[in-house]
C-alpha cells in the first residue's frame, strides 16, 4: 500500500510538471466554459413561454403569477390554437396549457390528477430544455408545498425565482462530464502507448514491483486528478460565472468518480487495441467525439436526431451528463438519478471486463 501511495504521489508530481497534460486537463475545459459561457450565451437564457389558461380560476392565476416572477421566462397569454401556431412559427419556445379542471389541492384518492401539458419547440432545444427543467422543479416544489398542511406556496416559489437557470448552469455539468471522459480515455491511451513504445514499462517490469501495484497507482492518480479537475472547474464556474449548483457537492463528486471509473476502464480497454501513438490519436477521437455531440455536453440532447437517439440514450457520457446535470441544476439526490447510476455501473462492469481482457502492459 505504501508503494502504491508513494508511486501515486510521484506520478502526480510529474503530472504537474507536464504542461501539455495540465493544459488539456484543466485549461482546455475552462476555455470551453469561457467560450460558450461568455461569447455565445452571456447572461441568462430567455425562454418565451406561452400560457394557455383554460381553468381561469384563482389557483391558475396564482401559478401564472409565480411563473411570471421567474426572470428566465418571457410570458405571453393566449388561446391554445394561437399559442401553438406561434410555437410552430418559432415565436414561442414552450407553451404550457393549464387544463380547466386545474386546482392546487392534494389529489384525493380516486380523483384524477389535473395534468399540465407542455409543448416544446424542437427548433430551439436549449431553451426548451432549460424552460422545462425550471417548470418541472417548480411544479415538484409546488405540489410538495400543497400537500403540506400549511400553505407555504409563496415561500417556496420565492426560492424558485432566485434560481434562474442560465446557460452556464446548464453547460457546467456537461463540461464536467466531458472533462472526466477526456481524462479517462486520453490520459490512459496516450500515456500507456507512449510508455510502452519507449520501453518505460519494460524497464519498470524489470524491477520487482507487482503489476497490480503499478496499475493501482496509475488508476489512483487519475481518480485523484478527476476529483481535483471537478473541484477546480466547479470553483471557477461558481466564482467566475456565478453558476448555481443546486444539488449536493458530495453527490456530484460520487457521480463524477463513478464516471471516471467507467472512462478509465474504457481507456484501458481501447489502449489494449493500440500499438502506436498515431493510432491512439485516432482511437481516442473515435471514442470521445461522438459522445461530445450525442451526450448533451453543450446542448440539450433533444437536438440529437431521432434515428441516433436509441444509441445516444445509452452512451456512458449520456448517463454521466444527465446525472451531473440533474444534481447540479435541479438539486436531484443520488436516489433521483439512480437510473443513470445503474447505467454507469453497467458500463463500469462491461468496460472493466473489456479492459481486463484487452489491456496488456507489455
Amino acid at each position: 500500500m505504501g508503494q502504491v501511495l508513494g508511486y501515486t504521489v510521484m506520478l502526480l508530481r510529474a503530472y504537474a510538471r507536464d504542461r501539455t497534460a495540465v493544459f488539456f486537463g484543466f485549461l482546455f475545459p475552462l476555455l470551453f466554459m469561457v467560450l460558450f459561457g461568455v461569447l455565445n450565451f452571456g447572461g441568462s437564457v430567455s425562454v418565451d413561454l406561452g400560457i394557455v389558461d383554460e381553468a381561469k380560476n384563482d389557483q391558475s392565476a396564482s401559478l401564472i403569477a409565480t411563473l411570471s416572477k421567474i426572470e428566465t421566462f418571457k410570458i405571453d397569454n393566449g388561446e391554445r390554437d394561437a399559442e401553438l401556431a406561434k410555437l410552430k412559427a418559432g415565436d414561442r419556445d414552450l407553451v404550457l396549457v393549464i387544463p380547466n379542471d386545474f386546482r392546487m389541492a392534494p389529489a384525493r384518492a380516486g380523483s384524477s390528477v389535473p395534468a399540465l401539458t407542455l409543448y416544446r419547440s424542437s427548433a430551439r432545444p436549449e431553451q426548451g430544455a432549460v424552460g422545462s427543467a425550471i417548470l418541472n422543479s417548480l411544479i415538484d416544489q409546488m405540489s410538495f408545498a400543497v400537500t403540506q398542511t400549511a400553505p407555504v406556496v409563496s415561500i417556496k416559489s420565492e426560492e424558485v425565482t432566485g434560481r434562474n437557470l442560465k446557460y452556464v448552469d446548464f453547460l457546467t455539468p456537461g463540461i464536467l462530464g466531458m472533462t472526466i471522459m477526456q481524462l479517462g480515455i486520453s490520459s490512459v491511451a496516450f500515456a500507456f502507448v507512449a510508455e510502452r513504445t519507449r520501453g518505460v514499462i519494460r524497464r519498470v517490469m524489470a524491477t520487482p514491483i507487482p503489476r497490480r501495484n503499478y496499475m493501482a497507482a496509475h488508476v489512483l492518480q487519475r481518480l485523484i486528478l478527476a476529483v481535483v479537475q471537478v473541484l477546480i472547474l466547479l470553483a471557477v464556474a461558481v466564482l467566475a460565472f456565478k453558476v448555481t449548483i443546486v444539488g449536493g457537492l458530495g453527490a456530484l463528486l460520487m457521480v463524477a468518480l463513478l464516471g471516471a471509473v467507467v472512462f478509465l476502464c474504457l481507456g484501458f480497454a481501447v489502449t489494449g487495441l493500440l500499438t502506436t501513438e498515431n493510432q491512439a490519436a485516432v482511437a481516442t477521437q473515435i471514442v470521445t467525439l461522438p459522445q461530445m455531440f450525442l451526450s448533451g455536453v453543450f446542448f440539450s440532447r433533444d437536438a440529437v436526431p431521432a434515428f441516433l437517439k436509441p444509441v445516444a440514450d445509452y452512451l456512458p457520457l449520456t448517463f454521466l451528463n444527465d446525472a451531473l446535470r440533474a444534481i447540479a441544476t435541479t438539486g436531484a439526490t443520488l436516489g433521483d438519478v439512480s437510473a443513470q447510476i445503474i447505467g454507469l455501473l453497467v458500463w463500469a462492469v462491461v468496460s472493466f471486463i473489456l479492459a481486463y481482457r484487452l489491456f496488456r502492459l507489455d
Partner: protein
C-alpha cells in the same frame, strides 16, 4: 561457486531458435561480456537471466535463485540496464532514483547514488534533458539502487562518444571494485578487450567461444592466424582522443 550459472537454455520464437542450448558460468566479481552479431541471441539470453522472459527449457541460476521458478526473486537481487528502454517523462534525475528505489521498497540516499555515477549536479534536471552519456549513467545509478549482486548492462555504450564510453568503462570498473559482478553485452570488441575478464561469443543462438580476451587471441594465433599488416602502434581512436582530450562532453 559461480554467481551466474546457465545450463542448456533454449528459447524459440516459432521456427527461429533464438537461444539454442547455451551453458556458461560467471564468477563473482567478474566483468563478463556476451558478444555476437545482431540476432545472435544475446539480448534474449540476458532477458532470460533477468527474469523478463522464460526459457523453453534448461536452467539458469542467478545469485542463488532459479530464474524460472522465482523471476521476481531474481529481480530483487540484480540491477539491470535494458536496451531500448527509457524512464518516465517529467521526472527529475533524482526522482528517477527515488522512484526505482520505491519499486524495490528500499530507502536510499539518492544524492549519494547520483554522486557515485558523477551526476550529483544534475539531480534537479529533468531526466529527458540529460545527454546520452548522462542518461546511461543515470540508468546505471538506477540499476544500483537495490545494491545488486549482479549488474546486467545491455549495450551500455551504444551511441556514446569516445569520451563518454571511456567514462562509462571507469564507472563499470569502479562498480566491480565495490564487489558487484558485471554482466554486459556489447558490439564493441575493443570495449570487451579493455574491460572484461572473460567474454563469451555467441552466434546463431549458441556459444562459439568462451575465455579471457587474451587467451582467445593467443589461441587464434596458435592456430596460425596472422594479420596481413603489422599492428600499428596507434589507431584512429587514439588520434581522436589525443586531439579532443578525455574530458567528458555535455552533448
Amino acid at each position: 561457486m559461480p554467481i551466474v550459472s546457465v545450463r542448456e537454455i533454449r528459447k524459440s520464437y516459432g521456427q527461429i531458435k533464438a537461444v539454442d542450448g547455451v551453458s556458461f558460468d560467471v564468477d563473482e566479481r567478474e566483468i563478463f561480456a556476451l558478444l555476437g552479431p545482431n540476432g545472435a541471441g544475446k539480448t534474449t539470453t540476458v532477458e532470460i537471466l533477468e527474469g523478463l522472459r522464460s526459457a523453453d527449457s534448461g536452467t539458469a541460476m542467478v545469485a542463488g535463485v532459479d530464474v524460472r521458478k522465482d523471476p521476481s526473486g531474481v529481480k530483487e537481487r540484480i540491477g539491470v540496464q535494458l536496451q531500448q528502454s527509457a524512464f518516465p517523462e517529467n521526472f527529475l534525475a533524482r526522482e528517477i532514483v527515488e522512484l526505482f528505489a520505491l519499486f524495490y521498497r528500499k530507502k536510499v540516499d539518492s544524492m549519494a547514488i547520483l554522486k557515485s555515477v558523477g551526476l550529483e549536479d544534475k539531480a534537479k534536471q529533468k531526466q529527458d534533458k540529460l545527454s546520452g552519456g548522462q542518461r546511461q549513467r543515470l540508468s546505471i545509478a538506477v540499476a544500483l539502487v537495490n545494491e545488486p549482486r549482479v549488474l546486467f548492462l545491455d549495450e551500455p555504450t551504444t551511441g556514446l562518444d569516445p569520451q563518454a564510453r571511456r567514462n562509462l568503462w571507469e564507472l563499470v570498473r569502479a562498480i566491480r571494485a565495490r564487489g558487484t559482478t558485471v554482466f554486459l553485452t556489447t558490439h564493441y570488441l575493443d570495449e570487451a578487450e579493455a574491460l572484461c575478464d572473460r567474454v563469451a561469443i555467441m552466434d546463431a543462438g549458441r556459444i562459439v567461444a568462451l575465455d579471457s580476451p587474451a587467451a582467445l587471441i593467443e589461441a587464434l594465433l596458435k592456430r596460425g592466424f596472422r594479420k596481413p599488416v603489422v599492428q600499428q602502434q596507434a589507431n584512429l581512436d587514439d588520434v581522436f582522443l589525443d586531439v579532443t582530450g578525455h574530458a567528458l562532453r555535455e552533448d
